[in-house]
Symmetry: C2
Subunit: 341 residues, 2 copies
């Protein structure tokens, strides 16, 4: 007899655990990295043959609501960790997932979530090589948390670090900012009717990074998730010891995101993106990078500012406002939106 | 002003998140794998220089209670994932952690937990190269969940898989079974007064594996966690297509574990261990393996049975009971103990 809801036994490591995993991961190929060992062996660990540098990242996803316009927690968990590895300059090749789910959770929803996660991995040619599934008693966890680790390979020494922004670099963003954050915040505030056609920008940035990596003079790349563009730019400025000046007018933003931000009284530049990249590139290639991004469907890609060496402001981000003034764009503080990703 | 309890802002990816991480991870060296990039860069991902095969594993730890005799969820999260990689035959070299914590959680407890986790990593010379910290609103998560990924290197082709047990192999266990499971179950049942001096066996199995790897004829190794010895032996039997026969009399077990199991009406062979290894080794080296384990402080290491090719029973585990009978030792079913690890 098949259960329709998660029971504690599904997480106990015995028979029921095995059969649930077969049921929800049933449609995944017995994934492994070529020449390695993966889910096909269902052993304690997985093996990846490596000859080059490895890049890796972990994130625990707690987004609420777990289904949202443009995605769900499974798609987000796959995408988010792929993006963290991709913006370092690596090709994501393998992933592991740790799912913790609440007793009583509908198995049909779990299947949808896992299948969204697997779809992203498959489209990105990332082998899901290992995982874990635990169950918490009812009331001890709100629905589900997914942790993912993604592993990528970097062919040679080319790596993009937040600390490598140079004075003179142009700052680009690959698309509109704050879409994901605006959608989730609106849903949490119960004003979903105001969302309109806005959807989360949740998507892998690997196609962007593949375009970018053809250029020699790209210095830093970052996906502006929690804390949004404001946090990403502050990381660049602080770690690279440069002043970053951006022009509000050039920051691409959807009407709906501006409107929702105003309604909720929040700074849209602090709203999370889940499918954008902020780049610092040499000034001589900035226009070419912009051109290639736009040519490949990233219509809202923009040069939004530049990095300078200004000893009074190094480590900080300056925002030229639409009104014509200049203000420090600070690191976001406060709780912003809990469970945004 | 320092907060004493976790607030939502601690998980929001802004300033408070940064300062909490500095506070609780403050005593960790800016860890990286030699020649790589790690927490020192605090970037999106970490870099590991690799020249050999990589072994990796993820687990999400939900143990309840989070502090228990012999350890806590932090020690367990570090140990458990190190062990999964070690029993594959790898040297663990790097780790990543994803912490999800409930709003209102005492920061002093979080520090204790993180410091236990870091201690294990440091003792094991495992670089903690990346991590994530999220906060769930009060009531949405019972205290804390920690997910860890550990990455290990395997020098040459030597890897231990559950599927490599051969007929004739002797089955060994490195110490008493069920200690961790018995402690946690008793605490959950509210009979802590019955635990006596029993503590969880939570500890890295890397010293055991270093001893074992000197032998050429070791075929399989496994840490019997969820589902205990019963599950581990069933995995060996099923994946290797052999019959495994073990003798109850030779299975090392503490008095307290037998007594607690009887009191609770559970099978001690299904109780989790968190610091033991089950091995399948060629018969000609079994005594030497036993000798070296005992000589190195594993006083309760025992040869508990052997693998056979018996077409009637291949894939199954047979247990010779103390009473002299023979029964099939099945994969554990049912919920056993929720949140055992």
């Amino acid at each position: 007899m098949q259960e329709k809801f998660i029971v504690l036994a599904h997480g106990a490591g015995g028979k029921e655990n095995e059969s649930l995993i077969k049921e929800i991961f049933g449609n995944v190929k017995l994934n492994k990295v070529e020449g390695g060992i993966g889910l096909d062996a269902f052993d304690d660990g997985a093996l990846i043959p490596a000859k080059t540098n490895i890049v890796t990242s972990i994130d625990s996803y707690t987004v609420d609501p777990i289904f949202f316009p443009g995605g769900n927690i499974g798609k987000l968990a796959a995408t988010g960790s792929i993006n963290d590895v991709a913006v370092m300059g690596a090709d994501p090749i393998a992933a592991l997932d740790g799912i913790v789910v609440e007793e009583g959770f509908p198995i049909s929803d779990l299947k949808k979530i896992v299948s969204s996660m697997i779809n992203v991995f498959e489209q990105e040619n990332v082998a899901l090589i290992g995982g874990d599934l635990k169950v918490m008693p009812k009331g001890k966890l709100d629905k589900i948390i997914i942790s993912t680790t993604v592993i990528g390979m970097i062919p040679q020494g080319k790596i993009y670090l937040d600390s490598m922004v140079k004075p003179g670099d142009r700052i680009l963003v690959s698309g509109t900012v704050g879409d994901h954050g605006a959608v989730i915040t609106a849903l949490q505030m119960g004003i979903e009717t105001e969302i309109g056609n806005l959807v989360s920008d949740c998507q892998p940035v690997t196609p962007i990074m593949r375009l970018i990596r053809k250029f020699n003079d790209v210095h830093a790349a970052k996906d502006p998730t929690r804390g949004g563009l404001a946090m990403a730019l502050n990381e660049f400025a602080a770690k690279s010891g440069v002043t970053i000046e951006v022009d509000e007018e050039y920051i691409p933003m959807k009407e709906e995101v501006s409107a929702l931000s105003e309604m909720l009284g929040i700074d849209p530049l602090s709203l999370a993106c889940e499918g954008r990249v902020v780049l610092a590139v040499g000034s001589e290639i900035a226009d070419d990078v912009l051109k290639i991004l736009r040519k490949n469907g990233y219509d809202n890609a923009s040069i939004i500012g530049e990095a300078r060496d200004n000893k009074d402001w190094n480590g900080l981000v300056l925002l030229k406002t639409r009104a014509g003034g200049m203000r420090i764009l600070e690191k976001p503080t406060g709780e912003l939106t809990p469970r945004i990703c």
